[in-house]
Symmetry: C2
Subunit: 324 residues, 2 copies
């Protein structure tokens, strides 16, 4: 083992086709493939330093993490320790560029960075798809943040076959994700619970049956750089995700009035020439997908809405990677 | 023919299990049974006077109706004229106690009243179920407004078998429908178009498969006067209706920010002891179902919301009936 310390930069991602529902909650094996874009300006920087410590420690945004967060990171490091055949404990320091717990997939950027930094600190030489699969163990969607650009998570059948890979590099299409933050409160129902509750929705089967068509359309639209084709599927897919959440028992209503306000404004803005389409994660904040030239007009309209607290503009980002 | 003029009072209804999707658009044959409550304070009074007129005329709320509205009423009177074997034209005057076109089912009250008044004016002696079936030809949900109290529309197989009947009289359970009006704009997509678009939702099959269970639960809850059991199904059913609308192609988003605001407040109010459950028609206004004792507390909270334009409190109403 050469290095005992490493730092990695991970990107959050926005899913164009969503991950919702687990086949195996212990391994985070998804019910379906998903497709996403890494986000340039929603990042986590994580340093992992193994050493002669009594226990793993974790600081997030300069604060000691709580016991549940620390235990979750510790369990994740166990996977890497098992691969390296060591039992050293680690000090983990993580900083996010964006608020946690708001459907901004902070766990995706975080577990991607933790995996890449932890593996490097232990001197593990893992292929990208292996890093992706390990990241998935920490948080399902984290596997999509390991490779760069536009990525597809193959649901797979087991741990080794469930990983993400790039379907188009970040410079393939100069898309923007204009994220309108309408709430930074922690979600009442976390994604992990939501994934389990998905099984209680009477609409899960219909969604899964429709997904092969949607995945093909989204991938084709990406490769053809066809925004209207992509956008039509994006909006329908965002609604389908929330349909599953709303119709699970108990029902999960992630939308806030401001979420709906922006969803309803999208077609109005398109009619006025601003070609942007909404998508949503499992939370109230709205991601508007558009090309770079559309951003100034969108910003003007979003900043005029009292319910929008903050706007973050993301381009497509590369893979989660080590920092010097 | 003894009387050539008659006046009827029709009640709107709020569906506890919704009508969404038609099997036969010409006959308004529904895909599924539905259950509703007649609304005491959302009424239409319609006078039909047959005579030696050149054409049918229609006035709504003291204004001459437009050509499409008049033609629709004229086609409806044709069914009654055919039954009576006459060709007389009619002057129809209709007044609503509530705004039209806002998902308040003005067409249900209107076509129930038109059917009952028109049949009486022509001296037709029709049984309640025949009146209900004829009302259905004008507007599907109008069939539920013909019998009194809590009614069930049997989807049926053909015209004669598709009618509504009372499952509990109005005094069986002193429920209230507290209607929060958040918009009185006409809907961008009318119910007729929505019923046709329902076929394009990938979730229609799953909804129909789940409905026998829901219909049984709602009917059981009504007969047991079990509000929590009824309310759980009410909210899930309201969401399911809008799921079909949102996931049809094109997507229909009837909800407004204020709709969602009230939907989200419902569980908060319940936690504070106000046992009320939301339901929605195909529109943005929110119906809160509760018992009479809960109304004052609800009114206080609703009237504090700037987005609520008006509140209408309804109790269960009797059948559509003739006025002297």
């Amino acid at each position: 083992m050469q290095n005992r310390i490493a730092t990695a930069l991970g990107f959050a991602n926005i899913a164009f086709v969503k991950y919702w529902g687990v086949r195996d909650a212990a391994l985070n094996l998804a019910l379906n493939d998903s497709i996403s874009m890494n986000l340039s300006d929603a990042t986590t920087v994580t340093t992992v330093e193994f050493g002669p410590l009594a226990e793993d420690t974790l600081a997030i945004d300069d604060q000691p993490a709580n016991a549940a967060q620390t235990a979750r990171v510790s369990r994740h490091l166990d996977h890497l320790r098992a691969l390296a055949g060591v039992s050293l404990r680690a000090r983990v320091v993580s900083r996010n560029s964006f608020p946690m717990g708001t459907g901004l997939a902070s766990s995706a950027a975080g577990f991607a960075a933790l995996t890449v930094a932890g593996a490097a600190a232990l001197g593990l030489d893992l292929a990208e798809r292996e890093l992706s699969a390990v990241a998935r163990l920490g948080s399902g969607s984290a596997c999509r943040s390991v490779p760069g650009g536009f990525t597809r998570w193959h649901a797979g059948r087991d741990h080794a076959s469930s990983y993400a890979e790039t379907i188009a590099p970040p410079d393939y299409w100069d898309l923007r994700d204009v994220l309108a933050v309408v709430s930074t409160e922690h979600k009442a129902v976390g994604s992990a619970e939501g994934h389990t509750l998905a099984q209680t929705s009477p609409f899960l089967g219909a969604r899964l049956a429709d997904l092969p068509r949607r995945l093909a359309r989204v991938q084709d639209a990406l490769l053809a750089r066809d925004l209207p084709m992509l956008g039509e599927e994006l909006e329908a897919e965002a609604i389908a995700l929330h349909v599953l959440a709303m119709t699970s028992r108990p029902s999960i209503l992630y939308w806030e009035p401001a979420t709906l306000e922006i969803m309803r404004l999208c077609p109005v803005w398109r009619a006025a020439g601003l070609l942007a389409y909404f998508t949503l994660d499992a939370g109230p904040n709205v991601h508007l997908i558009c090309e770079a030239a559309t951003v100034p007009g969108l910003l003007e309209r979003l900043q005029a809405l009292p319910s929008v607290q903050r706007v973050i503009v993301n381009g497509p980002a590369g893979p989660t990677h080590l920092l010097p």
